[in-house]
């Protein structure tokens, strides 16, 4: 995530699950860890049994709340208000870790005079362009610095992907050498980051938090004090989050707020501290590291943009940071190009850099769906994902599938995405007619993980190899088989082609050993290519050995060394009882097998542990090297008192007491001058759909959020203050249950799991049930402008209503696992959700939007379409009497 990336330097979780055991205080927020990561939760309980406070802050009282030492209920979508209150509490009460903040963060840096904070801009930072609906970020820079790299070469309107790319990588904003030039070590200059931060959050008082979030002042104060009391030299606190934080139009900024707190309290890089990101899929971290994502190449190298020309030289100039490990980006990209185009990639042809296709600003999944609806994307390959259920606005997803020429679905079972043409709510309602759908559909059965070799990268950046147990049956094949043979067949077809567009295929290296009757390619061969070798064919030990001269080949620089010393290190299985708590010989973690990132910060500026209780990695003056129980996340021989010379570049430009080595200045960024689309500091905005006004500013929601104003398939509920908003008075939040997994493809079709949660249900408080006439065990229909679904009613005290500004707000809880097919079927919660997105990562806001709920089952057949049309017409009629949306708000289509 760019939030962690811009703050600390890498987008991955800063710590590992077992280390939660060492925490004195664990804040679980935006995560329902006990339900969704039950086995990882054992480490939280270990901490609790040792006396740690475990606080769950969440709109719902869940199985995690039940195990916590305290649950604090807040309104869905109010997290920044709550955490901003904590920042204010820390600063107002002088609870920050002075030495850590002064030495290890950018608190002391002076910001450009042009920067205007939201507090002075009524919810907008400086640089806002209302016509383009975006920020010019130049005014957010440090004082006296120019925007890094080639801003001048970028044409007006170029938005690029710098935000995301640098987000994961942590590029510095125009930092010419190791240290920023203007600083105030006393942190008193009114333009220094520390003072700006203080002013920015000054209004986030306990009373404000209570009003905005619906919790009590007492609970908030208890929490803030508990957190502070459990931080410092002797104690540490950890944050745990998951998609409860990411799936918002302010998701990235939300995580940033926690990252700021952790820096202020000195909890990063230390045992029992950090920010633990919990990913939902077996290899979601891996599919970001080696991205099946449009905007990055393996290892968070940016994809070139259509307006990002100038060949490899220009690319390198923009990608390389003057200091820190991104200083060697040229070696990473050249080694990648060598891995892909082998001997065809030479210095003369810029290592085939021109073979790379170019992207636009947003070619993400939700953009693609819109292109399908417009008939522009006509071919779609879906592997191990079920967008007809799992993506926001399921109706739009399915209508899009019905416009395709061809669709390939590879899965273990016949999921909704494969069956949309004869079994979907739109077929039932008559909006789609099977005989009129042109889409040609190929369903190819997939191999399960038990039927193939390969590695998953888990939530703590750990690559773990799994061995094939049995052969897949009949037509079942791995994705490795599918793409390998697809590539092989395509190469055969295009062999000898003179068409320049086919040269990247003709020259592509595609030599992997195959075995068995099915000619399954060797996953180890692929891992070898990912890990990399030199021009003599020697496997490389790590990314420090990569060169920019074409003499090394590496498919993903952060995975360099995962296959080295003749060993598949991801397959190491040394039992935990035979090694230290960091378990460095179980599998392999990126980067360089480090388990706890930024662990240089576990020692003070002089290299001594902050305390004996929390020692982890420290400087050994006799051996003249860093040592400890983990791999030091620092140049092992760089002494604490190292000061870079003025001409130093790359890693050499990072000082010996600057622990965040991926950052251009080696510092943790409280304030992010470059790399984010929607501001250098997190600010409370209301969700895209909310029954409330923003209590801080007239700017209601994130001005930079992505909306689809002109897309008929994605209509929005009127929000607070708009005519028709009374039709959608409730906050709705979606979530998962222990017994099922995401869109249900692996669990609704599995009898032992289907029976444990056999039906879609909606959770409501008794007061809401009374208000709407809902009967426990009966049926309810939940309605948004997108769709109406039905669910069984579970009336429970666990959905506590919240009182805010004198108003009571009810929240409606919807698990999102269900769909049309499998052993257990039911309404898909995502059918209700809209496709407004976070601007940095294009993630939808399914954790907080609005709805109505009514007793009884939904209209069936054609009556459903009629019901929805009537509702939409009514809302449009109401809207006709007023401006459609607030005029100051941005739009992006």
């Amino acid at each position: 995530m760019p939030s962690l990336g811009t703050t600390f330097g890498r987008g991955g979780a800063t710590t590992f699950q077992q280390d939660l055991m060492n925490a004195d205080c664990i804040t679980i927020m935006g995560s329902n860890m006990a339900e969704n990561h039950p086995v990882g939760f054992q480490w939280v309980l270990e901490a609790r049994e040792r006396g740690a406070e475990v606080i769950h802050i969440d709109p719902r009282f869940t199985r995690t709340s039940a195990m916590a030492t305290k649950h604090i209920g807040i309104r869905a979508g109010s997290d920044i208000a709550f955490l901003g209150g904590v920042v204010n509490y820390i600063l107002a009460n002088d609870r920050w870790f002075h030495e850590y903040v002064r030495c290890y963060t950018n608190a002391r840096v002076i910001v450009a005079d042009e920067f205007v904070d939201t507090e002075d801009g009524d919810g907008l930072f400086s640089g806002w362009d209302p016509e383009k609906g975006r920020y010019d970020v130049t005014t957010w820079q440090y004082k006296g610095m120019t925007v890094h790299g080639a801003a001048g070469q970028r044409e007006e309107g170029f938005k690029g992907t710098k935000g995301e790319q640098s987000g994961h990588g942590g590029h510095g904003g125009g930092l010419e050498h190791g240290d920023p030039p203007e600083e105030d070590w006393d942190l008193e200059d009114p333009r220094c980051v520390f003072q700006i931060l203080k002013r920015h959050y000054r209004r986030y008082t306990p009373e404000f938090v209570a009003d905005a979030c619906g919790c009590s002042v007492e609970d908030f104060l208890w929490y803030a004090e508990t957190l502070c009391r459990n931080s410092g030299r002797e104690r540490t606190g950890a944050f745990v989050y998951a998609v409860g934080w990411t799936q918002h139009t302010v998701g990235v900024q939300l995580i940033r707020t926690a990252a700021i707190i952790q820096l202020l309290l000195g909890n990063v890089g230390r045992p029992g501290g950090g920010v633990m990101a919990l990913r939902g899929h077996a290899s979601i971290q891996g599919s970001t590291d080696i991205p099946t994502l449009y905007n990055i190449l393996p290892g968070y190298l940016t994809m070139p943009h259509t307006e990002d020309y100038g060949g490899l030289g220009g690319y390198v100039e923009r990608t390389t940071a003057p200091a820190g490990w991104w200083g060697n980006a040229d070696a990473y990209i050249v080694s990648l190009l060598k891995a892909w185009w082998g001997s065809a990639a030479t210095e003369e042809n810029e290592f085939c850099f021109e073979y790379l296709p170019r992207i636009d600003d947003d070619n993400s999944n939700y953009w693609t769906v819109q292109q399908m609806l417009k008939g522009k994307v006509t071919g779609y390959i879906v592997v191990g994902e079920n967008p007809a259920v799992g993506s926001a606005n399921g109706r739009a997803q399915r209508l899009a599938l019905a416009k395709l020429d061809w669709l390939v679905v590879r899965d273990l079972v016949e999921i909704e995405t494969a069956a949309f043409w004869y079994d979907s709510p739109e077929i039932e309602s008559g909006e789609l007619v099977t005989e009129q759908i042109p889409t040609e559909v190929f369903f190819l059965p997939a191999a399960s993980h038990l039927e193939k070799d390969g590695s998953f990268t888990n939530t703590q950046r750990l690559l773990q190899w799994h061995y094939k147990a049995v052969e897949p049956k009949d037509d079942c094949r791995s994705e490795l088989w599918f793409y390998y043979h697809l590539g092989r067949m395509i190469k055969a077809r295009l062999k000898g082609s003179k068409d320049p567009k086919n040269r990247p295929i003709n020259d592509l290296t595609w030599e992997y050993g195959t075995h068995g009757e099915t000619h399954e390619p060797s996953a180890e061969d692929v891992l070898r290519e990912i890990s990399g070798w030199d021009d003599k064919g020697q496997m490389l030990a790590g990314y420090k050995l990569l060169k920019a001269d074409g003499s090394t080949s590496c498919g993903c620089w952060i995975y360099c060394g995962s296959f080295a010393d003749g060993e598949n290190k991801t397959a190491r299985k040394k039992p935990h009882w035979e090694q230290s708590d960091a378990a460095l010989e179980w599998a392999w973690a990126w980067p360089a097998n480090r388990r706890l990132l930024y662990n240089r910060a576990s020692a003070d500026p002089y290299g001594n542990p902050w305390s004996e209780r929390k020692q982890y990695v420290w400087w050994d003056p006799e051996q003249e090297q860093w040592t400890g129980i983990d791999t030091p996340d620092f140049d092992e021989e760089k002494p604490p008192n190292y000061v870079p010379s003025s001409g130093a570049k790359g890693p050499d430009a990072v000082a010996g007491d600057h622990p965040f080595i991926m950052q251009a200045d080696g510092l943790g960024w409280l304030y992010v001058p470059q790399g984010l689309e929607d501001g250098p500091l997190p600010t409370h905005y209301e969700p895209h759909e909310s029954p409330f006004d923003n209590p801080l500013y007239s700017q209601r929601a994130n001005p930079r959020r992505q909306q689809n104003k002109d897309l008929d398939e994605d209509p929005y509920n009127p929000v607070d203050g708009e005519p028709g908003s009374e039709l959608f008075p409730y906050v709705v939040t979606t979530y998962r249950l222990t017994e099922h997994h995401t869109a249900g493809g692996m669990t609704r079709f599995t009898p032992y799991l289907a029976e444990l949660q056999p039906q879609m249900f909606v959770e409501v408080h008794p007061d809401l049930a009374r208000e709407r006439g809902l009967e426990h065990g009966g049926w309810a229909t939940i309605v948004s402008m997108r769709s109406a679904i039905e669910a069984r009613v579970l009336v429970t005290d666990r959905m506590r209503p919240l009182r805010m500004n004198g108003r009571v707000v009810h929240q409606v809880g919807l698990p999102y696992h269900w769909g049309q097919r499998g052993y257990t079927t039911g309404g898909a919660a995502n059918d209700l959700a809209h496709m407004a997105l976070d601007p940095n990562v294009h993630i939808q806001e399914v954790k907080a939007f609005t709805c109505d709920i009514r007793p009884g089952r939904r209209p069936r057949g054609p009556k459903l379409a009629a019901f929805m049309n009537e509702l939409r017409e009514r809302v449009e009629a109401e809207r006709g009497r007023a401006p459609r949306r607030e005029p100051e708000e941005a739009r992006e289509t």
Binding site: F61, L221, W222, Y752, Q757
Partner: protein
């Protein structure tokens, strides 16, 4: 309550009948204070013991859709939503002081862990009673006490007579219904040749795994070690220590259930740490082995026994063909 049978704390037929083959008595200690209600125990049990699916019925009883132990559910996680604090209140003076400094006059001291809501979860299982009524009444010898001191229905012996069913004070023993259709219980088909013949099924404490030196599937899977498997003596000591810790931490209602060798079934082989009265979890507060009234029962049984004897012998010989 007094019982006519003097509970000795030692089960009949163990260890004496096994001589040198006897093993230490083993069991479960299920510590519900760390149960996260994930139901891994239910699934791990089904996977190991090849148990059919138990029907897809949404109950609306919190997150419990299994409802009860039965022939096709040998572990059952109960969910209880309560308006009660998890821990008893104690003041937290520092927060009060800090609140004052923060300029929030009027802020009341918060209390550690106090909430008006708690969600209890507990994984129930066959208790493997010290004095097991089911065992006493089984006419076929299908139910027996193993060398580990556990109580097992032998699937190759049980003829489905069902005498044992009403004797269990916990309602554990249950006859497996025939699957009406493949859709009714999709897992009934690949049961490796087992007949769905109305026999009685319950937790065996993974008898086959014990014989191979493995711990039972549910205890192995349990993500938080809420289900602990070990020698019963060790578990009882561990449970006492655990209870003491929870009392110090002011856990509301913490108590042991079934660890007392003096209770109506002579203590459980699988006992529990609960956070409220047993009834709250659907457990009998004072279970008594019905064979406490054995003399009366014998008189009735004796009449039937004579007539059945020939039949049992015939069935036995027939079963060996």
């Amino acid at each position: 309550m007094t019982t006519p049978m003097q509970p000795t704390g030692a089960p009949a037929a163990w260890p004496d009948t096994y001589g040198e083959d006897a093993k230490p008595r083993v069991g479960f200690f299920t510590d519900t204070s760390i149960c996260i209600g994930c139901k891994a125990c239910e699934v791990a049990c089904k996977e190991w013991n090849l148990i059919p699916e138990d029907g897809r019925v949404w109950t609306g009883e919190s997150y419990d859709n299994t409802s009860a132990l039965g022939a096709n559910s040998w572990r059952h996680v109960a969910f209880v939503e309560q308006r009660k604090p998890l821990r008893l209140a104690e003041p937290f003076p520092e927060a009060d002081a800090r609140a004052g400094e923060a300029g929030s006059a009027g802020a009341q001291p918060a209390e550690v862990g106090v909430a008006d809501l708690r969600w209890l979860m507990a994984s129930d299982v066959c208790k493997h009673c010290t004095h097991a009524g089911c065992l006493d009444v089984c006419p076929t010898g299908a139910l027996f006490r193993t060398e580990f001191g556990t109580v097992v229905v032998q699937e190759d012996v049980c003829n489905g007579c069902g005498y044992c069913v009403p004797t269990c004070p916990f309602g554990v023993l249950d006859k497996r219904d025939l699957a009406r259709s493949p859709d009714d219980a999709p897992l009934a088909l690949p049961l490796f040749g087992k007949k769905e013949d109305g026999r009685v099924w319950k937790c065996t404490l993974c008898y086959d795994r014990l014989k191979g030196g493995l711990e039972p599937a549910c205890a192995k899977a349990c993500p938080t070690d809420s289900i602990q498997f070990d020698e019963l003596d060790e578990l009882r000591k561990r449970a006492e220590r655990r209870l003491e810790k929870l009392r110090v931490e002011r856990w509301n209602g913490a108590r042991l259930y079934g660890q007392d060798a003096g209770d109506g079934v002579g203590g459980f082989g699988a006992f529990f740490l609960l956070l409220d009265e047993p009834e709250v979890y659907g457990l009998p507060p004072d279970p008594v082995v019905p064979t406490a009234h054995l003399p009366k029962l014998w008189r009735t049984t004796a009449l039937a026994a004579a007539g059945l004897l020939a039949g049992i012998a015939a069935a036995f010989v027939g079963g060996r063909e």
